[in-house]
């Protein structure tokens, strides 16, 4: 029973009624993310946070790096969402409460316990051991393999990001070079045009 209460007894924060809290996860592709959350509502009479009522749920929305929504679902007061990235980059996980009954919050805040596991941490080794019938040593090695896999994916993603960074820097370099040339040409052209205009004016006035 105690362990059930300890479920997702991780980090928590407070969220307002209409507030939307977003978290960013920058991950390589084919990486799984599991998020667990639990909500508690402040009870004014008992002056403590109690598990939220059944009607109160959380709306979870996950966007991929191209701003496309890959997960958009409503869960109850306690929930677990899973998704796997198909493009590398910044994924955005947003949570907000679906409460339409304003009296439910009573001017207070909703306490949300959140735990997000990424990549290798999502693996349930007990399940893997049972499924593949691994010995203890094999399971340990399997864990190392998963870790190295994650490191390798991250490094591939790093290579792709570094290339983008280099392209941006080279583009800036080009723009600065291009601009200094154009600026010089504009100034020379303007000077030339003004001289010509003044000369024609003085010639017209018969001063030259």
């Amino acid at each position: 029973m105690e362990t059930l209460l300890n479920l997702v007894s991780a980090l928590y924060f407070h969220i307002g009624e209409t507030e939307k809290k977003c978290f960013i996860e920058e991950i390589p592709d084919e990486t799984m993310i599991i998020g667990n959350y639990r909500t508690q509502l402040y009870d004014k009479q008992k002056e403590e946070y109690l598990p939220a009522t059944q009607g109160l749920g959380m709306f979870v929305e996950v966007k991929d790096p191209d701003e496309k929504v890959i997960l958009s679902r409503q869960y109850g007061s306690e929930g677990r969402f899973t998704f796997t990235s198909h493009t590398p980059g910044e994924h955005q996980i947003c949570l907000h409460s679906n409460s339409s009954k304003f009296s439910l919050f009573a001017g207070g805040m909703l306490r949300v316990h959140l735990d997000i596991q990424v990549g290798e941490h999502t693996n349930n080794y007990a399940e893997i051991a049972a499924k593949d019938k691994l010995t203890e040593l094999q399971l340990r090695v399997r864990q190392l393999v998963e870790q190295v896999d994650q490191i390798q994916k991250e490094q591939n993603y790093q290579r792709y990001r570094e290339e983008r960074f280099r392209q941006t820097s080279e583009s800036t370099n080009q723009r600065v070079l291009w601009w200094s040339i154009v600026q010089t040409l504009i100034l020379v052209a303007i000077g030339f045009w003004q001289m010509r205009h003044l000369k024609s004016f003085f010639e017209a006035k018969k001063l030259v």
Binding site: T3, L4, N6, L7, S9, A10, L11, Y12, F13, H14, K21, C22, F23, I24, E25, E26, R80, L114, D115, I116, E120, N124, Y125, A126, E127, A130, E136, L137, L139, R140, V141, Q143, L144, Q147, Q150, I151, E154, Q155, Q158, R161, E162, R164, F165, T168, S171, T172, R175, W179, V182, Q183, I186, L187, I190, W193, Q194, H197, L198, S200, F201, F202
Partner: protein
Amino acid sequence: MEWLRGCSGRLLVLVQVLLWGWARGSELTFELPDNAKQCFYEDITIGTKCTLEFQVVTGGHYDVDCRLEDPDGTVMYKEMKKQYDSFTFTAAKNGTYKFCFSNEFSTFTHKTVYFDFQVGEDPPLFPNENRVTALTQMESACVSIHEALKSVIDYQTHFRLREAQGRSRAEDLNTRVAFWSIGEAFILLVENRPPLGFSSIPGLTYFALSIQMLLKTLMKQARGTPAEG
């Protein structure tokens, strides 16, 4: 392991909790709007060794205020405008520890902050494992490789954050250079044009007009002061 097979979702989660029950490590990246403060809380038992690490990824001068308080409200760690820091402490009391990130000193820049709050040790692979049980050489080799790889992953994370920071600065610079060159080209062309309807007067341009106005105001000021005196 037999009882794991064919179990319901609830039971599976329970097993995961048994595996996680040892400690929690939370790693989150969130956006902190200007003039905002975001607090996180965690219940920690006495004697647990905890580490709080944070890094500002994007925004302004890449700095944020951070504060860590113990259950009685005593400030254990307080730093203003820090870009990156790591703070380790051992919980001296049971209760809810609170740490806050503040961007209240900034007027219009949003900051993206990453933090990693490690509480206690990571759960062992086998829930029934006793610290006292002797491990074979192979097993202890596996354990040390696991720890080494964990630190590799940690370094990778920090490297990724620094790269994101550098890249965001580079992209900002690129946009600014583009706007600056277009803007300056426009100003140069407009300034050196004669104003509408005055093209017959040579040397008369917006630039010349503005210089004339400036000289007029300066002369007025110079004439004005001796009269007052």
